[in-house]
Amino acid sequence: MDAVFQRLYEKYHHDVFSFLFYMVKNREQAEDLVQEVYIRVLKSYDRFEGKSSEKTWLFSIARHVAIDSFRKQKGWKQRIMESFDWNKQQVQDFAPLPEEIAVQNEQIQMLYKCLDKCTMDQRLVLVLRYIQSLSIAETAQSLGWTESKVKTTQHRALKILKGYMEELTVKEGTVDEKVRVER
């Protein structure tokens, strides 16, 4: 086995996989995409200049792979149609939760569902910042953005999540007590 592959696998595989999984929310697709990330990485590894850390470089490639896969899935015309198709969105809400999420508490499950309500950029920031626990600077590097763009996007994303979480909480009415106890 290729030494570079082995090293990258050991160091970053689960992080990159996890990132892709939260972006596409589908295990099989994430498995395909993580392979695509390795293909791109290994092809261009000799061009990696060490300007950024290896980790942020990998995430930036993973991000491109994820975005490309979204683009391949649908042209912009379908993207518009989908945003008008309310039935479809509801179906998505009831899609079965992956095992890892299903065993978590209700808030985590709700958050997982609410991630859908964020735009792609917002979801990128949330996943990198909190699930991968990258710093603002590392996130900015991975996304090729300025730090201030990361901050504003993060702020907007949290606001959107908050809105939907509150809506869901009121609707389900069950989580309320737990929230208060935990505080």
Partner: protein, 405 residues
Amino acid sequence: MKRSEWNDEQLENFLSQMPKVKDNRNPQEIYQNISLKVKKRRRPTWIVPSLAAVAAVVLLLVLSPSLLSSLNNKESSMEESTFMAEDSGAQDTGMALLKEEVTEESANERMDISAVETEGDQSPTFVIREEDLQNKTLLTYTVPLENITFFTTVSLLTEEDGRSAIEKYNEYIPLLNNVLTERYDRWGLETFALDYISFTEENDQNGSKIVIVNIPSTVNPASFSSAEAGVFSRTIQSSFSHLKEDYTKAVFKVDGVAGIEIGQTGEVVESFNLEENSNLGYFLYTKEGSDQKFLVYSLNVFNSVDQAFEAMKSQEEMGDYILEPTIPLDMTFEVNANNERHLTISITSPLEDSEAHIMALEAMMLTAKEFGFQTITFEGDLDRVGEVMIGTELQVPIAPNLIEF
């Protein structure tokens, strides 16, 4: 009703508790899946096109003597039949385009390189001027970007061959869309949406030129979503306003019958007036991580050219999508409309011969054009900024965003 309040900290806390999801496959399996693809050496991209070109030349040499003799006899009848087959013209030109595209691919690469090489001695420009149109026919197409939040118009310069822009219009759509798709990652522009429409031209009873928008009966504009209807209308309204031929109207026809319903308005529209004065400003768009700059229409319509210039000093924003200002915040100037056609802009801050200032002046000129001005004079402390001469009366530019293809 119960209410729970969430604060950022709680959310952040829960987010960081989200579990990491593990890939259950073992590394050997993954490596096997990828190793084939990594090791396969890509053939250099120029081999196929150049082989095709060589083959084409050989074929041409072999066939030309016999073709020439038979062509002479058939020429007159050929002309007639192509004229008759105007409807299927799109398919015919499709073949021609296919041929072009083969050589195109290798040309693309050369084009990119030559652009870099000339950068040294030629200053950048973001507009097309009258003098660029010598022996050329200008084609302009309006395309959406950033999730159809914004629109821009891109320009192609084609060799003049006696045909008008509209007569050539359909022929270049596949080529344009091909280029836009290929470079989406760097440019961020969507494709020209109305690729299913055939555009022709006519003269109306007043003798002015009009564009006929022939919509195939298989497409039903009445069923467009509001977003699609928006793209449709905007594309028609902006695509033709920069063309050199003065088309005054776009008339909609379905199977030869005028009038369509666009979106669920219930209103039947027969035509759009193609007004040159849109009263829009121009902002800067570059796709994230790219350095290709495009001038993009403002979202707002402005009351005056001064107001537009003032707005062009700050960002144009819609939700998450942002256009950058074209005029630097520290550039100060006085605007004087001498009459309806001539505008004088006295720049009181120091000018520099930089890309930012070239863009500022050119964006101002294009904006002035959208307000109906035909000439413009800049006053300032330099003789020229890029291609823009200071202190002389200049014609407003013809169109923005030249695309090399």
